[in-house]
Symmetry: D2
Subunit: 146 residues, 4 copies
């Protein structure tokens, strides 16, 4: 089963000295920041940023995260982060990510995150909150309603 990507953002960042470990490569945990950079750039482009969502008294915690490391990144490397929204009717936001080194377009990492909807009291939302269904409709995405 392959994820079907229905919306995509591409953004860039550069590796900081403080993100590199004693092997002179990016410490593997720091990639989680680049994925968040990608997700937020996606949110900015399509109006689904952290603050956009929070305005509806909804939070979208990450409940699953998986990362596959293909090669290394060094200090000063420029990277391209591709963040794709995965098609799903479940009350979830699923993203697929690919990170490329800019100089040679080498694939460095693929990743996938699953977020759920939780209200201010911390209650898990079992169906898509209204603002999200409206957001999908506005962008012409499948909301599961005929």
């Amino acid at each position: 089963m392959t994820d079907r990507i229905i919306l995509k953002n591409t953004t860039e960042t550069i590796i900081r000295f403080s993100e590199v470990d004693s092997m002179a490569v990016v410490w593997h945990g720091n990639y989680v920041k680049y994925l968040e950079d990608g997700r937020e750039a996606f949110g900015k482009q399509y109006g689904l940023g952290y603050l956009d969502v929070y305005r509806h008294n909804i939070m979208t915690p990450v409940v699953e995260l998986s990362l596959n490391y293909k090669t290394y990144l060094n200090y000063g490397d420029e990277i391209i982060i591709e963040t794709g929204l995965v098609d799903t009717l479940a009350a979830k936001i699923i993203f697929n990510y690919s990170i490329y080194r800019k100089s040679d377009h080498c694939l460095v990492l693929t990743a996938r995150s699953v977020q759920v909807f939780v209200d201010k009291e911390g209650i898990l939302q079992l169906t898509n909150p209204p603002f999200f269904t409206e957001w999908k409709e506005k962008l012409g995405l499948n909301t599961g309603e005929s």
Copy 2:
């Protein structure tokens, strides 16, 4: 298919203020540090620490990492990190992790990491390096040799 755990370490840590995000819970990327704490505590107990391995001119980069978040952690929470070595004959080190909140022993996170063996020139080792086979033998673990 369930992972079979053949060696286990249990260690503890406490959540720092700087690890908590604006939702007042641990930022999801910081769990990667706790997993590394667990892995290194395992290494210390059984003689498989980062420096033990490095002495053999071998590095063990993480190539796969998956995390499943069950609940939240707050500033000051004490946590228990259980790190289990998974039985495999492949030239890999696979760990399973469970993180519990100490106060109520609530399961907070499960995770799994896969590491490979790479030499100083960055060449992937397709079979277990000698020091690792010896380490397994010393601990009475299955090395795949009869």
Copy 3:
């Protein structure tokens, strides 16, 4: 003018792999975490932790921080953090810090932080908030009142 220390805490921590940079020494910015560890251990011992203060609707942001690096720390080093409260009648909390490597008790860093009192609306408190004066009295410290 030397700071007069009126209360002191000593705590310990250990250097994480992710805190070391490509020079194989602790990245200089990570020391700010160890200072916060020291401050919070102080707060725990004397009842002046971040949550103790927050309960009075007061926050104590750091407004000045200075660090003097004496030598390096490596991955796995155990350190001793000494945190001393500086005598002052101003509406401030001033700490002095010394970090030592545990193995040889070598002085690694000295530092100093200044915190002020701010209420929930973000208004700077020009005099010590009542809870802080009471805290000083309880511990037999000089409150500036005869």
Copy 4:
């Protein structure tokens, strides 16, 4: 005594979600990263980057760092980092920094760092290494030689 700035770089960055603490403002320790961003942008502009220096078998560890916090930064804020090289004949690199919020050009932080020259064996260089004197000459800066 005021520092005399003889070369200046201006760069920009944006506050990440993971850099904000539970008070919804940038955690005070994260500013050290922005200062490093400024220093590296300076190095890129004038040919004094970390890798430029390292090529001469010299490292330039930070030995003093002081920060003065003027106001807060929130998630998503864009900031301007001004990094100025301070005039000195000592065998040191001294930078002054000002960080501004871009939206209203409000001054957020001032800081100062002192770096020394250390060779590969970790020996402190008591006079400016040749590459640094040449770098100063090339840029028309005072090298202390008539």
